[in-house]
Symmetry: C2
Subunit: 224 residues, 2 copies
């Protein structure tokens, strides 16, 4: 019997559906009943992770506890930045499939050591810490480009999923390649809503998809 996955979502809501679609695509099925049971809390009311005086920690802890109470056995957070509050989520007592760790493993598997990451300021600091443990160097945007990225991210959150956004995101990824990145991590769940592997000449690591695969593996793993 596969384990039930609990998903802390809504950051943003469209990105959560992208994650769930990638989870379904990554699940080996013969029939509908072979899909994982997934409990999802799509909570767009989580305080903004990119505002200095907000504290999403207690809200995320409560979401994790609620998912556990309702039967979740393994947790995932469908937002890179919210991994800053991973310890509050782990306080539920359930294992958390770590999106950033999974992305680092994918980058290593792609043979890259210099890895460009598109993410919020908070996510980038998490990626630097995580990737240092995995022997990877994080390549980031210059400050003014990072401001462009954040503005683009908020446009995508409001539904700007067209060609303009795709080209803008690809332009930022190309800047990272120009600075030495040998792979690009979409380290913000809004990024792969517009950026696709074919936009890049280096390996594209979609942290959302990588997390989905890791969750399928965790939920299908046989108990020891």
């Amino acid at each position: 019997m596969s384990k039930t996955l609990g998903v802390l979502g809504g950051m943003g809501p469209a990105a959560t559906l992208d994650f769930l679609a990638k989870l379904q695509a990554a699940t080996p099925i013969q029939r509908e009943q072979d899909h994982l049971r997934v409990l999802v809390d799509i909570n767009p009311k989580v305080p903004d992770r990119n505002v200095s005086d907000s504290d999403p920690g207690p809200v995320l802890a409560a979401m994790a506890a609620g998912l556990k109470n309702n039967g979740a056995q393994v947790l995932a957070i469908a937002c890179n930045t919210a991994h800053a509050y991973a310890s509050e989520v782990r306080a539920s007592g359930l294992p958390l499939v770590d999106m950033l760790e999974a992305a680092g493993q994918a980058a290593r598997a792609a043979g890259a050591t210099q890895v460009g990451v598109l993410g919020t300021g908070l996510a980038l600091s998490l990626y630097r810490d995580q990737f240092a443990h995995q022997g990877l160097e994080v390549v980031t945007l210059d400050d003014h480009e990072q401001v462009e990225f954040m503005a683009l991210l908020y446009r995508v959150k409001k539904g700007a999923l067209g060609q303009d956004s795709r080209e803008a995101m690809a332009g930022l990824a190309h800047r990272l390649v120009g600075k030495g990145a040998r792979a690009i991590v979409a380290g913000c769940t809004e990024a792969p809503l517009v950026l696709k592997a074919e936009d890049l000449a280096v390996p594209f690591i979609d942290a959302t998809e990588v997390l989905a695969r890791a969750c399928v593996a965790a939920c299908l793993a046989h108990d020891a």
Copy 2:
């Protein structure tokens, strides 16, 4: 403050994501935090609604109770056929936004009185009862065409979302038009995964989309 929606999903999993995407599209937002909070139980392990000796009722009742315990204030079932167990879901004490009733209202708004419904055998009997209350007549497929529909439905559930499925679904809808239907209800959540309004010369009522709009209205309604 908007109400929290609880969704009984997973029947099938892809159809639940289609519902959630339509829910997001139907929600008026200025910023991400304006989206509804949605608790979703994607449970593909619900016993098959189309097998005579299965009893999904207790499972759906438990799902509804779990969603309520976790904070849901309004419920929806992202599956037409599973509305056969609406009373078990309503036993949770929460209001249920009824997909079939909403579809009937949409059919009446479209000015149709003879309405073709694409659905499972169990869903068709529910539609006949519901639509009779709304002064609508249900037009259904012949028995051998209904067998074709069910085979197509199970192919869609397994991921056959391409042009072949679309043409086959449109062909069945055209049969209903040939039998006098003046509107077509996609009365099975897998149908709108492949059938689109532009495939038809009569109004297309996507019960999934209609349910999404009704849920937004229910969750944004001010308390009296």
